[in-house]
Structures are given as C-alpha cells and as structure tokens.
Symmetry: C3
C-alpha cells in the first residue's frame, strides 16, 4: 500500500518553536468575493462597492475580511487540525493589509504551545497562524488552540508550554488601512446614519434577520476556502459519528453573524481584531442562525479623528430569535441555542467635529 496519502499530524508531531509552511498558495479573485456575497449576503459598503472603497483610500474594493480569514484558516487545516478533536478557541487575531482580487495568500503557522491532557490520549496545541500576500505583507493572523489526538498514548508528555495571550489585541497593534476624509463618508449609501459616536458601551443590538443553513451552502463555502476537514463533507462517515451528520465549519457561523450584523452595524466597515472566540455548540444544516451584538468598549485611535474602534461581542444562536439576547446562565454556561460567542473589534467612521 502507498504511503503517499497524508493523514495529518498527531500531538507528538508539534514542537514548540517549529514553523509549518502550509500548501497550497491561493490567488483570490473577484469570483471568490461574488461567491462570498452569494453565500452570506454581505453588503458592507467598502467590500461591495469600488467607488466606496476609493472613498476610504483604497484603489478598489477588497474582499470581505472574514473571507481572508477563512482562506488562511483553510490552508492550516491539513497540518493543524486534521486530527483535531475540538477547536478550542481563538485569540490575538489581527487583520492587516486589505486583500484584493489578484492577490495570492500563503499561510504558515508557528507552534507556540503544547500541553498534554491528563488522560494521556490527547493534548492541546497552540499555533499562531499567519497569512501573507505576494509581497509578504500580513493579511490576517491569529492564535488558535485545538485538542489533537496522540499517535500513541504511551509516548511521553512534552514539557508543557502554555502561551500567555492578551484578553484583547492592544490598540497599538491594530492595523487600520482605511482613511476617511472629513465629510467624505456617505452614510446614506453605507446604509446607516449611526456612526462611532452614536454607540454606547453596554448597548445591545438584536440584528433581527436570520438565515437557514443548507448542506450545499456550507459545503460550497468550506471548499471555497480549500478547507479539507472531513467532518464537513462526508455524510457516509458522519452518520456513524458523534452527531450523525455533517458539522458546519465554525467559520461559517462567524460569516453569517457578521453579515446579519449589518442591520444595526452597517458602518462597522472593517474588522481589525478577533480578540477571542468560542464555538459554543456545533451547527448543522437546517439550523436557522440569528445574531445579536453588545458594545464592549469604545477606543479612540491615537492621532486619528476619522475612525475609531468599537469592541463588540456578537453572539449567534440557532432556532432562537435574539430579542432577549441569549448568552450564558448564572453559572456561566452557554444557553443551549448559542453557537458562537465572538469578541472582536471593528472600526467605524467618527462624526466630523465642528471646524476649528
């Protein structure tokens, strides 16, 4: 029998400090963005309209931030998470230069932590994954940690290295590649008059709209990112699996929640950070996804009057409208309808101040 087939790395294969260069580079095109729009109905103005993109200082419309994220993530799957038992969390996510049609993304991951679990059959691996364009400029990067199977329960545990991760990305590390000239922002075309100034810390927004997931949709999306994780595609095997069905890629829920959030956050023109994230429950075809958001903090950008940061929690639920903002119970356990709990930061235009 051939040994040409790759079966993914096991816990023993991850050495702290090692860098994995992932196959295959991916040239992004306008076709990818068209599919992304069809899959999620994204309509944030900078990615929807080239003239709008030019009004914030870009040459043309970039692709959606999360499309860039998913492409980087997809590249990492064959090396990082093919044998993952669980995707445990995200931190320190940043978005860098905008990704445009024609750009080529290459991804690599550095192993920054390992810790064997007590049962001796699995361990946790922390990686910092980075996607760069053809000029080696950072497009998106993030830390994630996954629980990975050991090849052999008897292999010795490595020295535990648990990275220290910030609660949120420091403002000094945020990349804000848009510029809005005074009075140049057309809020009417953007879809909302509510700018940075109008949001209050603690404010909660029910995004009202919802979308039902179809098998064909999440499979198309996940393959678009060249993400090969088997649980998303193989019903013949998954019928005997833990849930009896294909599991929707967690990033699919992130994109649905972001698209739904347009109704209430239309001017959240760019995601600049993913501070943390949890997939609280798996999603399946047939689930109807709703979302709500809370303003966690508001942060000015040093030296800038045009844009400022809103830190958001966006929660996605399944088969439950978000009128009552479902989240956690008193004991800190997620409401069973919660799919995603995402802590991230966006930039929004500020209301021009009176001329001096």
């Amino acid at each position: 029998m051939s040994s040409k087939t790759r079966h993914g790395y096991c816990f023993e294969d991850f050495q702290v400090g090692a860098t994995l260069v992932h196959a295959t580079p991916r040239t992004v095109t306008d076709g990818d963005q068209a599919l992304y729009t069809a899959l999620f109905g994204s309509r944030f103005p900078v990615t929807s309209s080239a003239p709008f993109a030019r009004s914030v200082g870009l040459d043309r419309a970039p692709v959606d931030d999360l499309l860039a994220f998913h492409i980087v993530f997809g590249k990492t799957v064959p090396d990082i998470s093919l044998n993952a038992v669980a995707n445990l969390g995200y931190a320190s996510g940043r978005f860098g230069v905008p990704l445009h049609g024609g750009d080529t993304v290459t991804a690599s991951s550095q192993v920054i932590g390992v810790k064997e679990n007590k049962d001796g059959t699995t361990g946790i691996v922390w990686v910092r994954s980075t996607g760069v364009n053809q000029r080696e400029e950072m497009v998106a990067e993030y830390v994630r940690w996954v629980m990975v199977r050991k090849r052999d329960a008897k292999s010795p545990a490595p020295v535990a290295v648990v990275p220290s991760l910030p609660d949120s990305v420091p403002v000094a590390e945020l990349v804000v590649p848009y510029q809005v000239a005074a009075d140049a922002y057309d809020a009417r075309l953007a879809g909302s008059e509510h700018l940075w100034d109008d949001y209050a810390v603690g404010e909660r927004i029910d995004h009202v709209d919802a979308m039902t997931i179809e098998e064909a949709e999440h499979q198309l999306a996940t393959r678009l990112y060249q993400n090969t994780a088997r649980v998303h595609f193989n019903q013949h095997a998954e019928q005997h699996g833990r849930f009896g069905r294909r599991i929707v890629y967690g990033g699919h829920i992130m994109s649905m929640a972001r698209a739904l959030s347009f109704n209430g956050l239309a001017n959240a023109m760019r995601i600049v950070a993913i501070n943390g994230g949890r997939h609280a429950n798996p999603a399946f075809a047939g689930d109807t996804v709703y979302a709500w958001s809370e303003v966690l903090s508001k942060i000015e950008l040093p030296g800038r009057r045009d844009l400022a940061v809103v830190q958001l929690r966006t929660v996605a639920t399944k088969d439950l409208a978000c009128t009552d903002f479902p989240h956690k119970d008193g004991a800190g356990n997620y409401h069973p309808a919660v799919l995603l709990d995402l802590d991230y930061s966006v930039v929004m235009p500020r209301r021009p101040s009176a001329a001096p």
Copy 2:
C-alpha cells in the same frame, strides 16, 4: 434596547414625490455573472461570449439583463418592501446601457403613488426604481407597486394618487445598445437560425426544458443580489408563516423562465422592456419550473434594419409541462400551476434584406 436596527418603512412613510436613495452601491464582477450562469444555465450568446458581444458592437460581454434587474431590485428591498404584504405588479420597465463587470450600480426610487386600502390597515405604494452605473447612466428602471402595512390603522389616509401607467413601453423609449452589421450575425453560434422575421404574432412556443428549484439555489441567488427580504431565508420563522416554508424570490422564476426560453428564442439577444408582470402564485424549493411563450406583437425600430422588437408573454408553471400552454381559465383566473405571467420585449436580429 438599541434603535440601531432598521425595520423598514410603513405605508405612512411614503410621500408622493419623495426620492429614496438606497444602500449599498454594488460593483458587479465577472464572478457575479459566473454565479448567474451556474444558477440558471443562461447561454444567450452576447452575455456568454466576449467575441460575440463584440460582434454586436460592445467592448466585451455584459452581464445578463435580469442580473442587472435583480441587483437594482435587491437594493430597493430594505426601503420599499421589507413590510410589504404583497408584490402586486410591474410596469414601465426599461433596460438601458449594458452592465459590465467593474461597473457599480446605485439605486434610488421615487414614490409616484399611494392609495390606502379600504380596511385601513394597509395601502398600495407605487415607486419608480432606477439603477444607474458609476457614470449615472440608466442600467435598469421599472415601476412596481406593493401592498404595505400601516404602522397605525388609525392614522389618516393620504390623498390617493394612482399613477397612469402604459400597457407597454413605447417603442420610442426603448434603449437598443446593440448593432448588428449586415451578415455579421452568426446564427449558428447563437444557437438558432430563427430570426425576427421568422416569428409570427400569436405563435406559441413550448420551451420543453425544466428545472427543479433547490433551497440552496434560490438563497444563493437572492443573497447575490443583496436582497434581504426575510421570507426567502428564515425557515425557523416561515414554518409558522402562511405557507409553512421559505418563499422563492419572484425574480428567481423570471430568470429561470428566461433561461429556459433559450430553447425557442435563442436570438432574443436582449430584453429591452418589461411591460408588465404578475407573480400568479408563490414558488417553493422542490417545484419544477417549466415555461412557454407567446408572440404578442412585432415592432420595427425606426431607422433600423439590423434589429427589431418582439413583444412576448412568457408564462412559467410549476410541476406542469407546457405542451398545452397553461394560462387562465374562461373567468380570467390563472391556472393554479402558473407562477409567472411576464409581458416583456426583446430585440432580435433581422434577416438581412437583398442588397438594393
């Protein structure tokens, strides 16, 4: 609770004469056309082939006419029809300059009529919606009227204004942006030898082919147009709705019928007008759509020998082959299988006359 979320306008909000500028501008790409082809199998030659497009005087292949229409329509939904009870009809639809990849569509609507219904809880709103490209050139425009809920049944009825609409778009108002040089039209590559001269008023054509709608397909299409009407996407809510299921966007049936009509109308190279239209019944996933057409009239274009107009009725049915041309019964009621009754005008090449 936040007031950031938009819930759409009610009947009271529509003032005759007011203009609504719709969010979000949309840059169309070749990716949108690829999706449109995948969704409907469109193969009319001018939109399928750049060399063919050049043979009729364009620089390159434009997107399908109905893709332009759906993008304009999609922009209007959050302002016009989010609270619509019913989409009652279309008139005065025209297509202007061809829409190409790279062009950006912005849409606006003028309120041209309002009339409260007798029960006092709803009213009819007439709007003329216009999509323009980045040069402010008209891409598509049409009048539609919808029944919209009142916010408050007790609010006073406005003065009724009912616009006068023509039965069909006058030939002098048609925009015909293609030119066919004598003998330059390759009917063999176009897929049919039947030119304008070969169609007879009253002729009826069974388009024979049919396509079954899947949920993923109509959702992908409708999101591609950034159309956010909730009834198309939210099975969790619609299971308790009037039909117990998601309703397919009416324009999806228009595009299916147009694509099916290729078999019999391959040289109907461009839609120039939508004279009127009715969605006779709602469509759902699982329905198989058939179509037939009737030639309503044939009209020469002043001063032109290359192209002329055919006014068509195209009827789409569900789960019923169109061998017998199902339409209305003697009392004028639609056959229950009829989904769409569309009165529109196309241009076709004329047979070159003998040299003088």
Copy 3:
C-alpha cells in the same frame, strides 16, 4: 404550434464525416474557477496560485483542466446527446493550451463512426469533439460514443463505421505546456514531497477523503458548463424515470475524484490525456464519493528532464471507503459501488538529477 424548439438529433441525423459547430461560445472567467473551487475544493497549485503558475512557465493561473473539459462537453450536449440513451465511453482525450480567464471556448464535433444496434431502435454514434480558444488553439478534445435513439425504427441502417481507437494517447501526441526550471519547483507549497520518481507502477493509493453530493451542487456545476441534458435538472419528469430521481452528470464524478486525488497525487499538476473512461453506475444526490488510484505506467517525455508522465487509473465509488481498492470481480463486472473508472495521464515534476 411552433417549430422553433430544438429537440436534438436522432441516430439518423449523424453522417460520418459531418462536422457540427456547437452553440454557444463561452468566455471563461475567474468567476468560473472560483465556482469550480467551491464545488470541488480543487487545490492543485498551478490552478490555485498565480505565482505558482508563473513558476511553471505560465503568465497566470489557468482554470482546472476538467473545467475546460466540462465546458467543451457542455457545448456538445444539445447536438450530440440530447436523445442519448447512454454515454458509453471516452477515448483519445487530450488537453492542449491552458485555458485562462478571458479566453473564449468554441466547440465542434466530427462524426467519426455510426453503427445501428440489433434491435433497430437505437444506434451508436462516435464523435471527436474539440474545443478551441479564440486563437483557434486546441484546449481539449476527446472521442466519445453514445447510444442514440432512432427517429423511426423502420429507417434503414447506415453502413457501419467503427473507428479504431488507441488504448491510450501516444506520448508523442501529448501537449505539455508547463516547464519547470531545475530546483524551481516548490514541493512544500505544492503539498507533497512525492515527485514522479517516487511513484511505482502498480502502486495503489487510497485517497481517504470523501464528499457527499447535494442536488444544488451538481445542478450548479452542470449549468455552469451550460450542459442542458434534462435528466440532471427535472425532478418532476425524472420521478417517473428509470431511477426516480435526477441523475448526476458523469463529469461531476470525474471532478470529485480528481479533487479527492490531491491527497496522494498533489504533484499531478496537469492532466494531459484521457485514455479511456467508463461511468460504471449512475450517481445521485446523497451519494458520498470516495476515490482511489493505481499507477498504470510511467513514461518519460522525449528530450525533457523536468516533467514526466504518470498514467493513472482513478476509481470513484459511492458510499464505500476505498481501503480495499474496489474495482471489478473475477468475471470482470464492476463492484456495484463503483461510479467511475478513468484511465488518464498526468504530468509530474521529476526530481532534479545531480548536476553533470
């Protein structure tokens, strides 16, 4: 009633030596490739990455070879196989110049054989179909033979002409448009260290991964190719057909098998020939497709040290993992799970030899 609708050719209509020029030319775009990626998850590096494409001597990334094949095939359907009872086989398939976004494909077919069947109601037709780009350069060509209905069982049988077809495409006829400079091939980015030198004749590879087919997916794919064969789209008619359901286009399984084969054949950078192929069983939505491959032969290219040919058999199955390489029983009958048995040739980079 109108005679404008095309109902396809019958056996009597095929004359040996005749050439059929197929409608409609098709300009391929990056959007088509994006859809192809979403449909199959293709990640071979030359089509995935423009810089990688440049590293093998191209200007930019071409579309997947099988996308080119399916577009040519789709064009032939209305003329060749609308009345086909069965698609019997392929031979002499070659791929020519790479197909890029912006290129326009036109297809034609030459009838090279006819033979009436004994029952007098059907016959076999052999055609050589060729797709060319806008410069009349061959993009893909192949011979296929189909069983077609006679219009009239009483029409006389034509003189039987059965073309002589080679078992495989001779190496001298292969078009190999890629060049790999010594040491320029980045196997790490390509996804596998296994080059031509590492494969052994007789080696068998289980590709491990699998994908479940959804109705929306195969319909989107088949329409993308403008393939109009009715059995793929019309559930209302097919419910009374031989299988009670829509049949998946056979080429869909070819593309799934090719995409799955990446895991084990990542450096099979281009398909250069389809030597022969059989659709052993029909596929339907809900089937989960697995694949395995066997190395049939290894062939050097005259005068070239950079690339060489591997002739492969790739077998696709449904709802059966390929650990045991299911194929035929002792009597030569296909295992009932086998969908596709494809004999084709790819090029792979060779390991640079020691400098002289």
